[in-house]
């Protein structure tokens, strides 16, 4: 069916609304001129500059480490929380526990950040790399818990029972059967946690300290002094990372789909 003129107009507007700001940012990252709004010809100058900007590179490295570590810790804790929620329908304190899991999803980040800050101050912990990591672990584990929980809800418990029936003790059953089958959910939980940690500004700015400036904080503080093409370049690199991630994810899900279709064909052929 040929799209009507109305349809194509709406589509164009939507795309424009979503992507024009990003396209402008990318285009101007290749701008030779130092002025952000004036096109001065194509150049890779700013990409070279960021390599030599030690502050920016340090911030990127801190962000990567915080992201990896907090995503990993958050994934472990979130998976355990999800298992608890799904496997133990009744235990004392279940309701508050469930509430705590969901709270950071709806809580304004400012409040989460502030309460973390108060906690660290009260406990007399110096703010820095570890405090940001802990704060990010806390808020990302909730997302992981919810993703893993929804997978576990559709998990066929008889698979675990079958393993135990065949002589496999419970802990081994978890690692041989449950974990491999919920792994896709855990991995996507980790990726979401990493992304959330990567672009968090608010919580990080409350909980970080000297020597542990994350990239979003760095960018924000530089922008306050005026947008430079350098910022555009670093943002373009970030966009590149995210785009590659999204493409990989969609290729892998496409592959899974293709394999499913092939399996179905095999099954039908096997039946006849």
């Amino acid at each position: 069916m040929k799209p009507s003129r109305f349809d194509s107009t709406v589509l164009t507007l939507c795309f424009a609304f979503l992507y024009i700001p990003i396209i402008i940012l990318i285009v101007y990252s290749f701008n030779a001129s130092k002025l952000v709004t004036v096109w001065g010809g194509f150049s890779l100058e700013w990409y070279k500059v960021i390599w030599s900007n030690q502050g920016l590179m340090d911030a990127a490295w801190v962000t990567a480490r915080v992201g990896m570590l907090s995503a990993t810790l958050g994934t472990i804790l979130g998976t355990l929380a999800a298992l608890t929620l799904v496997r133990f329908p009744r235990f004392p304190g279940r309701v508050p526990f469930t509430g705590m899991i969901y709270a950071p999803l709806v809580m304004p980040e400012v409040i989460t950040g502030l309460s973390m800050l108060l906690l660290f101050v009260a406990m007399n912990i110096d703010r820095g790399f570890w405090t940001v990591t802990i704060a990010h672990t806390t808020f990302t584990m909730c997302y992981v818990a919810i993703i893993v929980q929804s997978r576990l809800l559709t998990f066929d418990r008889s698979l675990e029972e079958a393993a135990m029936d065949l002589g496999c003790p419970p802990v081994k059953t978890f690692f041989r059967i449950t974990l491999p089958l919920i792994a896709p959910a855990i991995i996507s939980g980790w990726m979401l946690a990493f992304t959330l940690s990567l672009d968090d500004l608010v919580i990080a700015s409350f909980t970080t300290g000297p020597g542990a400036t994350t990239l979003p904080i760095k960018i924000y503080s530089q922008v306050r002094l005026g947008v430079t093409p350098e910022i555009n370049a670093i943002c373009t690199i970030l966009i590149g990372f995210v785009t590659i991630g999204v493409i990989c994810a969609s290729i892998s899900s496409k592959r899974t789909e293709l394999r499913r279709i092939r399996d179905e064909h095999d099954a039908i052929r096997a039946a006849t």
């Binding site: 066929d156 008889s158 698979l159 029972e161 079958a162 393993a163 135990m164 029936d165 065949l166 002589g167 496999c168 003790p169 419970p170 059967i177 491999p180 089958l181 499913r260 399996d263 179905e264 095999d266 099954a267 039908i268 096997a270 039946a271």
Partner: protein, 388 residues
């Protein structure tokens, strides 16, 4: 699929031998979930090498009973003994039972081969022995060509056979089958029933099967326990269950049956034919019925007369004796099943009695048709009196 001839079936009835020791014993088992009683003070003995069925509608407690034997549920009260040993403190992964799940529960991330080997690996058997046993199992279920496939690449029937092979690989003392054939189509189901019987015979294992399909239970079992609401109604061989059900519930659950409400007219121990049981005389709204049966029902009590449709004779001619075990009515509906025709005969008082007749002759037009006035008769020993 050609079926190999297993060993010749011998007469097998350990439950009739007074000194036989039961292999599995459920002793006064009760299982409660909150206020709901799933299994109610149930006792049951199962013997070695028996093919035993738990038959009943969904929610009758049959699956719960099986899951308690496998160790996935603990009885609220009572004991389960296997070879005289209480299973209470044995976790499922240490019980000498294996289960074939209704959903098959095949591990989707493992190949057929790996699925079958899983249980053997848990026992720490040497590699060579495991692969020999896996090959043997694949051969048993005729899936040699599919060893490297994943469960998703198999048809429903093949998955069922993988599940069977996996649960048999460890040579369990008892194999538990939870609605094993429920997901298969009719033809495949019938073939598989015979295969199951063959395998059970060849390996000499004890099989406990849970099913709601009475035909399946009748075909495969040595004995059947008919269950209702957590209670065993009757435990007997398929033939006994069919020919001598002990209650209306069992009579109506298994096969097709006519039930006529009756009052006992006389139960005096009068013997009509020498060597036969005494006769109970009943009256069902003017129809006089006589049944040869040992029965404790006193005169005046109300009972049910039950008779299977195939034991009711149908004829256009009036019988010689119209006063006993004979009634006439109008053919109201005919169900043509190919091998059998079932006639629904409406009596004068409005009740409907079913009579089935084997279609022995090749005819397209049957002599008895809609609206005909027919006579239904039955011999003295064809029906039975049910007091419960």
């Amino acid at each position: 699929m050609a079926r190999s001839l297993g060993p010749v079936k011998r007469k097998f009835s350990p439950w009739t031998e007074p000194h036989a020791v039961p292999f599995i014993r459920f002793e006064n088992i009760t299982k409660r979930y909150g206020d709901f009683v799933a299994v109610d003070n149930l006792s049951l003995d199962i013997y070695e090498r028996e093919f035993f069925s738990l038959l009943g509608p969904s929610g009758c407690g049959k699956t719960t009973l099986m899951r308690m034997l496998a160790g996935f549920e603990a009885p609220t009260e009572g004991r389960i003994l296997l070879q005289g040993r209480d299973l209470a403190n044995t976790p499922p992964y240490k019980r000498p039972t294996n289960m074939m799940f209704q959903s098959y529960a095949l591990f989707p991330h493992m190949t057929v081969e790996k699925n079958i080997a899983f249980g053997l690996e848990q026992d720490g058997l040497p590699k060579g022995e495991i692969s020999a046993r896996v090959d043997e199992m694949l051969k048993l279920v005729k899936l040699e060509a599919f060893a490297k496939r994943k469960p998703a690449q198999l048809s429903g029937g093949q998955r069922q056979r993988v599940a069977l092979a996996r649960s048999l690989a460890k040579r369990p003392k008892v194999l538990l089958l939870d609605e094993p054939l429920g997901a298969l189509d009719r033809k495949l189901r019938e073939e598989t029933q015979f295969e199951l019987m063959d395998i059970q015979h060849t390996l000499g294992l004890t099989f406990l099967i849970v099913t709601h399909d009475q035909e399946e239970a009748m075909t495969v079992s040595d004995r059947i326990a008919v269950m209702d609401k957590g209670v065993v109604m009757q435990v007997a061989t398929p033939a006994e269950i069919y020919e001598a059900p002990n209650t209306r519930y069992v009579a109506e659950f298994i096969g097709d049956i006519n039930i006529l409400e009756c009052a006992v007219v006389a139960n005096t121990g009068e013997v009509l034919q020498p060597g036969h049981p005494p006769v109970v005389r009943l009256d069902s709204q003017g129809v006089s019925i006589a049944v040869e049966q040992e029965c404790a029902a006193a005169a005046g009590t109300s009972v049910a007369f039950a008779i299977r449709p195939e034991k009711v004779r149908i004829s256009l001619n009036q019988p010689a004796d119209v006063h006993i075990n004979a009634v006439h009515g109008e053919v109201w509906d005919i169900g043509y099943l190919g091998d059998f025709s079932v006639f629904l005969v409406k009596l004068v008082d409005g009740r409907v009695v079913r009579a089935a007749q084997a279609n022995v002759l090749r005819l397209v037009d049957r002599p008895i048709t809609f609206g005909d006035i027919v006579w239904l008769t039955w011999p003295l020993d064809a029906g039975l009196v049910l007091t419960r």
